[in-house]
């Protein structure tokens, strides 16, 4: 019996378990999935929790319901991997051997990396919305907050879902307007980027949206520490920004077992061939999603598109064929912009987000780099698609390769 072990049963690990079980003979291949957490979180939904738009039931479901029959699901922590011995060690002492390993343990916030962040203001006036607990704590805080300086800060690059803090800013603006206290709230957006976003066209469009909503951008702000006594964030070049409420995207890092196994870089990301999605060092190790170091967004849509390529290349490796499927870095993100509207960006390794229509050239229905109502519905629909189609590896009517059709240069 040959063995495939999948580490992580989040977006990517769950898709792969479903895809592989459909095609690999059960009497020839065993598939085992390991995850420390019995709950599957729809992470894009965390964004809506602080504003009371989504509840727990919208974003949390048992992982086991998405793992297909015929796949062994172990709920346990991963202690380390010895890739030269094809062996995984779990925290309970269990040992798993593999012929092929798929790593999909994602990336997570690490507030301890920033001095002062976990001090006395943590979850009192400082919140994250990248965890379920953080988002719920912030929701409770916002229920009674009467206004002041709200600072949104990104501590480090890269971080997952690079549009999420912008969306948070837009939704916060709407929330305070509807509550009737927008005139009592100053919103600041302190980012290590030089503008709202990275690439020129999208940065301009999103920057103008921020401006239009009176959200002040503080660019090139690279966080050194939090002064929790005086409620200030301080950058390496000595700039200080005062806050009454700080919403932060703490430093994101890959899983700690990667560090213990010596398989990653300083941020615990695994060196991965950006086209084949195979580890650069170990021929029988593939890396899917946020856990890899490929130069594209750490986002669920990327995981989805990449899973097609990884599947083909893994099957090729199993059958001893060359790995010919090539990932192009395709990413596709809906951006909530507040008041029932949204925008959409579609790009890959080579092409920056451009204006146009998606997925049908000239028709849409979605507008790229435009601010429309239908884009907002795209985001709303995505939650249903995620739970019902995407995780189960069902065919979606979207190409994994990015296309230039429908884009305006």
């Amino acid at each position: 019996m040959k063995k495939i072990v999948i580490l992580g049963a989040g977006t990517g690990g769950t898709i792969m378990a479903n895809e592989l079980r459909k095609v690999l003979e059960r009497d020839e291949w065993s598939i085992t999935v390991v995850d420390k957490d019995p709950n599957h979180y729809y992470q894009p939904g965390f964004l809506f929790i602080p504003f009371g738009i989504y509840t727990k039931h919208d974003v949390v479901k048992p992982k086991a319901s998405f793992i297909p029959a015929g796949v062994k699901f172990i709920i346990n922590g991963i202690d380390r991997v010895e890739p030269d011995k094809n062996t995984v060690y779990l925290t309970n002492g269990q040992i798993l051997e593999y012929d092929f390993l798929i790593v999909a343990t994602g990336t997570h916030i690490n507030p301890a990396e920033t001095p002062g962040l976990l001090g006395r203001e943590w979850r009192k006036s400082i919140f994250d919305f990248y965890t379920h607990e953080g988002a719920v704590a912030l929701q409770n805080f916002l229920k009674t907050w009467e206004g002041g300086d709200m600072v949104i800060n990104i501590a480090e690059l890269p971080f997952k879902c690079p549009v999420a803090p912008l969306e948070f800013a837009f939704l916060a603006d709407e929330f305070f307007v509807k509550k009737g206290i927008r005139d009592k709230v100053n919103i600041y957006y302190a980012t290590p980027l030089s503008g709202a976003f990275t690439k020129p066209k999208s940065s301009k469009m999103l920057g103008e949206l921020l401006q239009g909503k009176n959200i002040h951008i503080i660019p090139d702000f690279y966080l050194e520490r939090v002064d929790d006594e005086n409620k200030k964030i301080i950058s390496y070049d000595g700039r200080e920004v005062k806050f009454d409420l700080l919403t932060i995207i703490p430093v994101n890092m890959g899983a700690d077992w990667v560090a213990r196994s010596g398989m990653g870089d300083d941020m615990n990301y695994i060196a991965t061939d950006k086209y084949t999605l195979r580890s650069e060092k170990w021929e029988n190790v593939f890396v899917l999603g946020d856990a890899s170091n490929i130069p594209t967004s750490k986002a669920g849509s990327v995981v989805h598109f990449a899973s097609d390529v990884l599947f083909e290349n893994l099957m090729a490796a199993i059958e001893g064929r060359p790995l010919i499927a090539k990932f192009d870095g395709h990413s596709n993100c809906y951006i909530e912009t507040g008041f029932g509207k949204g925008s959409l960006i579609d790009f890959n390794y080579e092409t920056e987000p451009l204006p146009g229509t998606y997925p049908l050239p000239g028709i849409g229905p979605f507008g790229l780099l435009k601010n429309t109502r239908i884009n907002h519905y795209g985001k709303v629909m995505f939650r249903w698609i995620y739970w019902h189609l995407l995780l189960k590896g069902k065919e979606l009517p979207l190409e994994s390769q990015m296309t230039m059709a429908g884009k305006e240069l």
Binding site: E156, L157, P158, P162, P192, L193, S194, F197, T198, K199, S202, D220, Y222, E224, Y236, D237, V251, D265, D266, M267, N293, P295, T296, S297, S331, F347
Partner: protein, 103 residues
Amino acid sequence: MAEKVYAGKAVSVTDDGYLTDPNQWTKEIAIEIAKEEGIELTDKHFAVIEFIREKTLKGEVLTIRTIGKSGMVDTKGFYELFPGAPLKKASRIAGIAKPSSCV
């Protein structure tokens, strides 16, 4: 894209002043670009620049944090060498592409 003359040598640069071909880079060019950034290069600057060049040309993606953890220079020191936007300034002086954190 545009042509620019640094240290008597014509090189092509992007709209925001980054060399388009890292192979055209020389130490003399670095000194002149640094002047435009208001920086007088010392040996310490050069050590950091060469480190960034070597890693980047090998295909690694650097961040301020990874440089700060590299043992070459700590983050505070990196800011002191290249005030304001250290990775952007250092990359420009090192003749490599503008750091585009991945989105």
